[in-house]
């Protein structure tokens, strides 16, 4: 039952993605690429790149798109629901309880403790993407594109959307 799989694939990142939107990304990749094999690492990176050029939280965009590809409109709805529902339901249900404890060291500890794990997952993803890129387009292009992107993003604070468009143009002209 594809819908049950879509639900699980996005439910797990939805409840464990502590530390902000991007924390869900490696968890989603783990489900979508490793567990279910719905797409390759490369395909996942394309979806991620495009997702970053559009507004809104990355987790829901990924869930909606991948859910759509796997299961049509209903699949998209299931994906979005699975991403959003857990914390929303918790928020509505536990409101009174959480209001008292939102400042508690324990609640703050949740993000703090999960962060290193997410850092590792992100780091592994970084490695996988670079590795894949070295294999597909070679070290020269990878280092060139990567180096320029880094400079533009971090030193000159260019919006990622522009960099991605730039890379798309480079790819269309130089790499084809």
């Amino acid at each position: 039952m594809i819908y049950a799989q879509i639900f699980l694939a996005f439910f797990i990142p939805g409840i464990l993605g502590y530390g902000g939107g991007p924390a869900s990304i490696p968890l989603i990749e783990n489900e979508v690429v490793d567990e279910y094999g719905w797409m390759s690492v490369n395909e996942f990176s394309e979806v991620l790149a495009l997702g970053n050029t559009l507004p809104g939280p990355i987790a829901t965009k990924m869930a909606g798109y991948i859910g759509y590809i796997q299961g049509g409109i209903f699949g998209a709805a299931v994906g979005i629901f699975a991403t959003v529902a857990p914390s929303l339901i918790l928020m509505l249900g536990l409101l009174g309880f959480l209001m008292r404890y939102k400042e508690s060291p324990k609640v703050k500890r949740l993000t703090i403790v999960v962060r290193p794990v997410i850092a590792v997952l992100l780091g592994v993803m970084t490695y996988e993407f670079f590795h894949s890129s070295f294999k597909d387009i070679g070290s020269l292009h990878t280092v060139l594109i990567g180096g320029v992107s880094y400079l533009l993003m971090e030193r000159m604070k260019v919006h990622p959307a522009y960099i991605i468009v730039g890379a798309l143009i480079y790819g269309a002209l130089v790499l084809s």
Partner: protein, 184 residues
């Protein structure tokens, strides 16, 4: 019904203009919900935000869903969520499926390949950001490094499912006794 359409428009704007990641939606939401429509006071808004940050998941959708519920009941909740989330998903689906239609053209292939290093760089920046935040947090560089090493060994060495590791850590964090000085 008028309120529902205002709710939709408010979060439609937030959803479409929230460039730069989830937290960028927050001041936009504040402008709509507190300043423009006065559905909540600034204090109520910040309480909800603090609450939202205690839970996992994208903050924009949590805020939309909860505020939608507060303002317009269950209908309002679905209304605000759909307004925030659906427009960009439609855009994504349109863009990616039209890209897929030309998948076998060499220039489309080139485009797809060129994008991978860019995403790798973004992920690198995110990784480094998380590592730095972890080191500067209460965990400190010592414990962060220990956790990072243990995670690396467990996740890559024995292929432990990340969900299990995270779940165990969350439970451990909740069960750990507060030191006497920090009692809430």
């Amino acid at each position: 019904m008028k309120k529902q359409s205002k709710l939709f428009m408010a979060f439609f704007r937030v959803g479409l203009l929230g460039y730069g990641g989830g937290p960028s939606s927050i001041p936009l939401a504040h402008k709509e919900v507190v300043e423009k429509y006065k559905w909540l006071t600034s204090d109520e808004f910040s309480d909800i935000l603090a609450l939202g940050n205690a839970l996992p998941g994208p903050v924009a959708t949590k805020m939309a869903g909860y505020i939608g519920y507060r303002v317009g009941g269950i209908t309002g909740m679905f209304n605000a969520l759909i307004a925030t989330v659906v427009p960009t998903i439609i855009l994504m689906i349109l863009l990616l499926t039209s890209l897929n239609a030309y998948k076998d053209e060499p220039w489309v292939n080139g485009m797809a390949e060129a994008v991978v290093p860019v995403v790798a760089v973004m992920l690198f920046v995110l990784t480094w950001g998380f590592i730095k935040k972890s080191g500067k947090s209460k965990l400190g560089w010592g414990w962060s490094s220990v956790l990072i090493l243990i995670s690396l060994v467990l996740l890559e060495g024995i292929n432990l499912h990340p969900a299990i590791l995270i779940f165990v850590l969350l439970v451990g964090a909740l069960l750990k006794k507060n030191p006497p000085a920090e009692k809430t």
